[in-house]
């Protein structure tokens, strides 16, 4: 029994876990050879360790929840942080296109400008990513969109404006939920450089979770994934503003 006292349980645990260096390991093995009580102790520890691992081995994480896809959220956050910095670097915010009083910027969560687009002032391309159904914000967005479109058409600039909707933003382009259906229709009639898009994934989610088979306003295009569309547009030099 003296040997057990000189060889602490901590050392025995460390031996079991393969954490001892060579001389210590050899020493423990010598002790084990000559002491059956110690061997029994090690056996129990080893069995316990196996049982602990086994107790959780069959547990599997449930299927991912539809209402909070972490990958998508994080991907948007990562992309947003990168592009927001890109926007600041480009110095476009101070460039007078949208001044600090702009309603759009006041309600924007993220603004990103591609350097390429700032160099070519004849061709403005802007995607407004709408994820809210807040009437105040939506009204602001439509006001700003209308201002932009009319101002640029007066100046003779080429401008493309896309309203990309997903999440709660889908309400803007759904018949029955949109409070701005008439206004959108009027904008679409006046400006052919305005496009409205809805995310297919968000529509699928709506159907799966709430059983709603969404009908969209006329002229609303469905894109497979809002995220992909944003990345794609960013690559093409579109300015991105998330509402």
């Amino acid at each position: 029994m003296n040997t057990i006292h000189s060889l602490s349980d901590e050392t025995l645990c460390a031996y079991l876990d393969g954490e001892l260096d060579e001389p210590e390991r050899i020493w423990v093995e010598q002790e084990l050879e000559s002491n059956s009580a110690l061997r029994e102790r090690l056996h129990k520890l080893g069995r316990l360790s196996g049982q602990i691992k086994d107790a959780y081995a069959e547990l599997e994480a449930p299927a991912q929840k539809q209402d909070k896809p972490p990958f998508l959220q994080a991907r948007v956050a990562v992309a947003a942080s990168v592009i927001f910095l890109a926007g600041l670097t480009a110095g476009w915010l101070g460039g007078g296109q949208f001044n600090s009083e702009s309603g759009l910027l006041n309600i924007a969560q993220t603004v990103s400008v591609n350097r390429q687009s700032t160099l070519d002032h004849d061709d403005w391309r802007l995607v407004l990513h709408i994820t809210t159904n807040d009437s105040y914000k939506l009204n602001n967005v439509l006001n700003e969109a209308e201002n932009l479109l009319s101002k640029h058409s007066e100046n003779g600039n080429k401008v493309s404006l896309t309203l990309l909707t997903n999440g709660k933003g889908l309400d803007l382009v759904r018949t029955g939920t949109s409070r701005f259906a008439e206004r959108i229709k009027s904008l679409q009639t006046r400006y052919d450089n305005l496009s409205l898009q809805a995310c297919q994934l968000a529509l699928n989610r709506l159907k799966m979770e709430k059983g709603i088979n969404a009908k969209l306003l006329p002229g609303v295009e469905v894109v497979p994934s809002a995220m992909n569309e944003i990345i794609h547009k960013q690559h093409e030099g579109w300015t991105y503003i998330k509402i």
Binding site: D9, A14, L48, K53, Y56, L59, A61, P70, R75
Partner: protein, 184 residues
């Protein structure tokens, strides 16, 4: 194109994370013994990992880095729920009742229940080593404690578990003992 580089890196990390989801879930489960909380903790840790993927300097240490994030999520969760008292300091009077022991009849459930009753500090160490197979150095770094402390906590945790499981065995032996009845 920084957006695309970032996107690709995120995509890569996403695949790596997906393969580690169950591992994180098991660890979280060992700490809280609750499926819903474990799921939340796992989701939260993975979201944080993606959000802060730039902080991962050495891809080889992904697992250790993830463990650190999960531990932080668990501590945050604990902090948010715990007001002024540590539940580990309490031993409920009905914990050892025969009724309770009968419910915990399955060996795996017995072990999970025994682990759930360990003090927090010991529970984290023993689960990281035995369930996750983390080295003492990794555990020490993840928890921000010296290796000596890892060793002593681990040893105490295993001893406590052995004693607890031994006690349960004896109780079960009594409960399950053949019952003789005299028939007239």
């Amino acid at each position: 194109m920084p957006v695309f580089k970032g996107f690709l890196k995120t995509q890569q990390l996403q695949n790596q994370l997906a393969s580690r989801r169950n591992r994180l879930y098991r660890l979280a489960y060992a700490w809280c013994n609750d499926a819903a909380i474990s799921d939340d903790l796992t989701q939260e840790a993975m979201t944080k990992a993606l959000r802060h993927c730039r902080q991962l300097k050495d891809p080889e240490k992904l697992d250790q880095w993830l463990n650190g994030i999960l531990i932080n999520c668990w501590r945050d969760h604990h902090r948010a729920r715990k007001e002024h008292e540590n539940i580990d300091d309490y031993c409920f009077s009905d914990d050892d009742s025969p009724e309770k022991q009968m419910v915990i009849s399955d060996q795996r459930q017995r072990i999970r229940a025994a682990i759930a009753r360990l003090p927090e500090s010991q529970r984290l160490v023993v689960t990281l080593v035995d369930i996750d197979g983390a080295s003492y150095t990794e555990v020490a770094k993840s928890l921000g404690i010296p290796i000596g402390t890892v060793m002593s906590r681990l040893c105490r945790a295993r001893k406590a578990l052995m004693n607890r499981l031994e006690d349960l065995k004896q109780v079960n032996a009594v409960v399950n003992a053949p019952y003789l009845r005299r028939i007239k």
